[in-house]
């Protein structure tokens, strides 16, 4: 996996390697960032910043971590820095509240689901959102968050139980 990118880097073809990397990872990184920042336009901006950092650091990539782990770590750190900066800059206004993920009305209202999701601890919320964004792939979520698959499962279980309990209490 990603051997082609490593080869291009070893041939000092940074721009070509970046092009392949961008094509392969842009959607995944966007979803990861979105699961953290919770707003698609901000997520797009943070995704651009993440790829800018990846581009800047690409020549220095030493291959110790797998390329995907390296990319996801940069994206996660960029998202967290962005959230911190936002937190210090202003308190969330109503307009800036995390946007709903999709314009659909499922069995539970989207506001209710949004409330349940925001009530979860950060790591559980990220895991559960990514799980659905990544088409229920525990393996992919584990790779993106650099967690063992068992930990991802355990976060999923806890999040589901907590959400169901809160739902029960509200009804």
């Amino acid at each position: 996996m990603d051997q082609d990118i490593r080869e291009l880097l070893s041939q000092r073809q940074k721009d070509r390697a970046f092009e392949v990397l961008l094509q392969r990872y842009q959607s995944k990184v966007f979803r990861l960032v979105f699961s953290i920042v919770g707003n698609s336009s901000r997520a797009e901006e943070v995704t651009q910043d993440s790829f800018l950092k990846i581009w800047q650091a690409l020549s220095g990539y030493d291959g110790r971590a797998s390329l995907s782990t390296w990319i996801y770590t940069i994206a996660r750190n960029t998202s967290i820095s962005h959230l911190r900066a936002e937190f210090y800059r202003k308190t969330l206004s109503l307009e800036e509240a995390p946007e709903p993920f999709a314009n659909v009305e499922p069995v539970l209202g989207r506001i209710e689901i949004e409330r349940l999701l925001t009530s979860l601890p950060d790591e559980q919320r990220e895991v559960i959102v990514l799980f659905y964004l990544q088409e229920r792939s525990i393996e992919e979520v584990a790779a993106m968050l650099d967690l063992p698959e068992g930990t991802v499962k355990s976060h999923l279980h806890r999040a589901r139980k907590a959400m169901a309990t809160k739902l029960e209490v509200r009804r």
Binding site: L22, F30, Q48, A102, L133
Partner: protein, 138 residues
Amino acid sequence: MTCQAAQELILDSLDCRIDEEQQIRLESHIAQCEMCRSFREAQRVLDAALAAHCVAPQLSPAFRSKLANKIRGEKRQALQEWLPDLLHLGGGIVATTACFLWLPVSPAVVFTVGIALTFVSYVLQTMFRFWLEDLEGL
């Protein structure tokens, strides 16, 4: 099967496939346990709601061009940062070469003085730039 084990299996079945034997044991427990039946129902409703809610957003068509602009800006900035150094070095080489060609002094002296002056003026220029950056930062 205990209720706790049954509920873990229910959650497992939402995250990944459970095997046939586990499925049979779970169904037989649920058939007799009202609490686990409603737990499964609640989890199924929640799962469907989450699946409908968490739909992956798409990157806008302008994503690539905006990123390309940012990278171009970064390249320009890097060049701008190096430009004074490159110009200084180029100027030093040109001046030393001109002195070598036109001054009636031995080449060794010209090169030694040229290198020394280039180095000293580079240090002064760098100090001046740091001083200006400090002023901007105030």
